[in-house]
């Protein structure tokens, strides 16, 4: 039973690291960097070096800016609380990420290829309830007599990844795998996140029910006596994180169906980080009521008795602090894609993917077309489904002045054109260096 419980925790409740889902990179199958999504991708050149490739993005399953604000006659946007509340799902996810793929090197010989990857990643995810948003936007004064389920769940992780991979081509089949050594820098994540606040109708008596556990590693330090929050130094320092360690795995398989069509299936980010240093855990398991400052008699009501109110409220949301290691799991990212080489200069790509962030299943799908304009320029566009919306138009460009390959792209150009309506954002650019003998692989990878 204990084992089943542990499995349950690992699968559904365990804190998760989660890289932002990217669509553009998998669709740019001609790009060496697309091996990020497909570990079974066989490089075309004997040597392939990935220079820094930086990407960032956010995704919000809740309303966009435009849904939250209305514009008044003076042109000023005003938060429309009720309109905003109506737009929230019962449960909403916000994810933000920055991925810095700092360095990568592939060496390929015969039907074999080994690779090394190093990068630093920042991932943040917050799951909040409509009640929580309502409390934040409108306060509890509009929820008198109601119980608000406000407990937000969140994960904020900063870590480095050093991966060593191997790809083997067997006729039409390619198999790839990568072992990733994980070095945790900072973490802040919830293990339990139930917090219910009831505001009584009689005289606004507050009842709080909590089952809340927050883990931190070199992120925050809370003085539980004063509830003062001190943030750790957030300066990025080169090297490897020293507060946690773990191992992750990526697997992929590709298949060449005929001369024009290939496909792949991959699962990446299996594994976890155990955080051991600079850790602290803040927990609250209580049912507490706060009825205001308790005064023995109205005759004794004075300023001094009222000044104790803040202290009482602080105790009302008291957390216990403890020290000990904790574990955060990577969020497996399942992806399936394919490429149809329509002509020598045009390919069509498709991708399906899914991951589960803070208990919320986030699927995505995209199709794209890549044009080779000339020997040094490729452009592409895509249409994708993500975050319950289909209005994602991606653009990408690749410049190749061998041995340099430079690229940039976005999953949704509309984000930048109409930011007020956006609830996803993505942008990535990078540089690859390819040299050595060019090998026409049996498997095809897009243009080129």
């Amino acid at each position: 039973m204990k084992t089943i419980y542990q499995i349950f925790l690992i699968l559904f409740l365990g804190s998760q690291l989660h890289a932002q889902q990217e669509i553009q990179v998998p669709l740019m199958s001609h790009l060496a960097s697309s091996s990020k999504a497909n570990p079974a991708r066989m490089p075309k050149y004997k040597w392939n070096m990935q220079m820094p490739s930086l990407g960032f993005g956010f995704l919000h399953t809740g309303p966009s800016f435009k849904d939250l604000y209305t514009r008044d006659a003076s042109g000023m946007y005003q938060l429309n609380g009720q309109q905003a509340i109506d737009e929230f799902d019962k449960s909403n996810i916000f994810t933000g990420s920055f991925s810095g793929d700092i360095f990568g090197l592939d060496y390929t010989w015969d039907n074999n290829s080994v690779n090394v990857r190093y990068g630093s990643y920042v991932d943040a995810a917050i799951k909040y309830t409509a009640d929580g948003a309502r409390l934040l936007l409108k306060g509890n004064g509009n929820a008198v007599g109601e119980t608000l389920t406000v407990g937000p769940a969140f994960n904020f992780n900063v870590y480095d990844k050093l991966g060593i991979g191997y790809v083997r081509e067997i006729e039409k089949l390619t198999l790839g795998g990568r072992v990733n050594f994980l070095f945790g820098r900072k973490a802040l994540s919830t293990e339990e996140q139930t917090a219910k606040l009831t505001t009584g109708s009689d005289y606004y008596k507050l009842n709080l029910e909590t089952s809340y556990v927050v883990h931190s590693s070199d992120f925050v330090d809370v003085d539980t006596n004063t509830n003062k929050v001190n943030f750790a130094d957030m300066t990025f320092k080169p090297g490897f994180g020293g507060n946690g360690s773990g191992v992750g795995f990526d697997f992929g398989v590709g298949y060449q169906f005929d001369d024009a069509i290939s496909g792949y299936l991959s699962i990446t980010d299996l594994g976890s980080i155990t955080w051991k240093n600079n850790t602290s855990t803040y927990s609250s398991h209580k049912r507490a009521s706060y009825g205001g400052v308790k005064i023995e008699s109205l005759a004794k009501l004075d300023t001094a008795s009222l000044s104790g109110m803040l202290d009482s409220i602080q105790k009302f949301v008291d957390f216990d602090k403890s020290v000990g290691e904790f574990k955060t799991r990577l969020t497996p990212n399942i992806m399936m894609g394919g490429t149809w080489k329509f002509t020598d200069n045009i390919t069509f790509d498709g991708v399906l993917g899914a991951k589960k962030v803070l208990g919320r299943f986030l699927p995505m799908a995209g199709v794209g077309v890549q044009f080779e304009l000339n020997e040094w320029a490729k452009v592409g566009t895509s249409f994708s489904y993500q975050n319950k919306r289909v209005n994602h138009v991606g653009l990408n460009t690749t410049l190749e002045f061998l041995p340099l390959q430079m690229f940039m792209g976005t999953d949704n150009i509309l984000t930048f054109l109409m930011p007020k309506s956006a609830n996803t954002m993505h942008f990535r650019f990078g540089v690859n260096v390819m040299f050595g003998k060019y090998t026409k692989r049996k498997t095809i990878y897009g243009l080129g």
Partner: protein, 500 residues
Amino acid sequence: MKKIKNNVFLMWMAGLLIGVSCTTPTDIQVERETVDLAFPVFTSETSISELIDGGVDSTALVVHSDHEMGLYYETKTHVGVSMPELEDMSLDLNPMTTIPNLPVSGVNIEKAKFDGGTMSFSFRNTQFDKNIKVVLRVNQLSKDGGIFSKTLDLDYTGSFPVTADVAVPLEGYKMDISQSPLQIEYQASFNDGSTASIDEAKMEMKEAEFGWVEGDWGVQSIPVETPDHEIGFFDHYSNGGVVHFANPKLNIIAQNSVGIPSKFVFNGITVNTLGSGEISVFGDFVDDGFSLAYPSIDQLGTYLTSVDEMNKTNSNIVEIFNAQPTDINYDIDFLVSPGGNGTGFIAKDAGVDLTMGVELPFEGTLSDFKVEKSFDVKFTNEYVQAATMKLYAKNQIPLDARIQMYFLDNAGIVLDSLVASNGILAVSSAIVAPSGDVIQAKKWDEEVSIDLDKWSRIKSAVEVKLVTSFTSSSAGQVPVKIKSNQRVELNAGLKLVVQP
């Protein structure tokens, strides 16, 4: 074709770059909507006694075992009865000397006990060259069961005069002269037993003090000095309103150690009132006086308690207390032997401790009876746009309470009030049976809005004066009983409209 491709690429790049460069919208200047924060401010449980505490001398509040309570104001005095003094005596003695009347005034002594003094005897022989023995005896004096008796030897040593003296402390001796007067006997004899005569025999009694004296005291009247009996309640709460005490009482308690029939005679009782000036108390209580229980000689040293009560059946006390009395003045005499039979005793330090207590049970009616309470405040939150105070009460006290809060500045000037001057913030009374007893608590809640204008006026206040006006059920027409276990639970919450 190549040109077209190049143009497509350039357009593509331009679209991508232009699109990305549009990341930061410049026309967004957001303003947050107000947020409503609701939270409890205080919760309290209090009784009427705690509410008026501080305004009333705390010793004035009394609670009985049945939770009935009221105000109690008392004054005390001591009536001392002086012990008769026995004058010093000096007598020439015969072999049988009788003292028919002791030199003492105010009483015909029958029995007494001495607490001090001496009785001295002196004998002188100037003619017999023999030894003489003198035996003294006083049958009316005894100590520890033994009759007073002394033997003196006048031994001849070859010269005259031959003298013998003795001084006997009187402390502890009892004297009983109820059957016969005090008689001092002596018998002088030679060694052979023959009777001798004494040239000179004397007795002196000096500084005699009685421990107690029993006898006939006759009729005596002793004026009693009583301090003014202050009733502070109406002085403190004279700020309007009508209080009707249904059952006021004046309890008079005497602790008496004087063993003589006696009573207090009220020559007059007058009351100063706020409402009607000076009022005289009259009725059977005043006319009859207050007879005291007294100890018998067997109960010497004990105090017997006598209690009497002036109430609405034997006086006009209700009328007096509806006139808001401030103090009572007594003209009282302590009358010994009121019936003429003055036989009894007085012990040293005997007297009467007299306590007079005005009891005002919280039973009656109140109308617009105000209690004020002030406390300092400091409002500092400048983000508050408006506020709503939510009051919730559970009232077990049979009084309606009208609440008003005044916000005062440094100079004590009222900046504003919680509700409009003609507004009502009334906590309803508990439900009361015809007997005046509470049969069910009453729940009550009220919201008071404080808009931006009002908030801007009161946020500079430094003091809040809470004025509570109490009225009993049915607009003060139905008598109610206020008990110590009746409480009012008052809770306050605040909803603030905050502009972040």
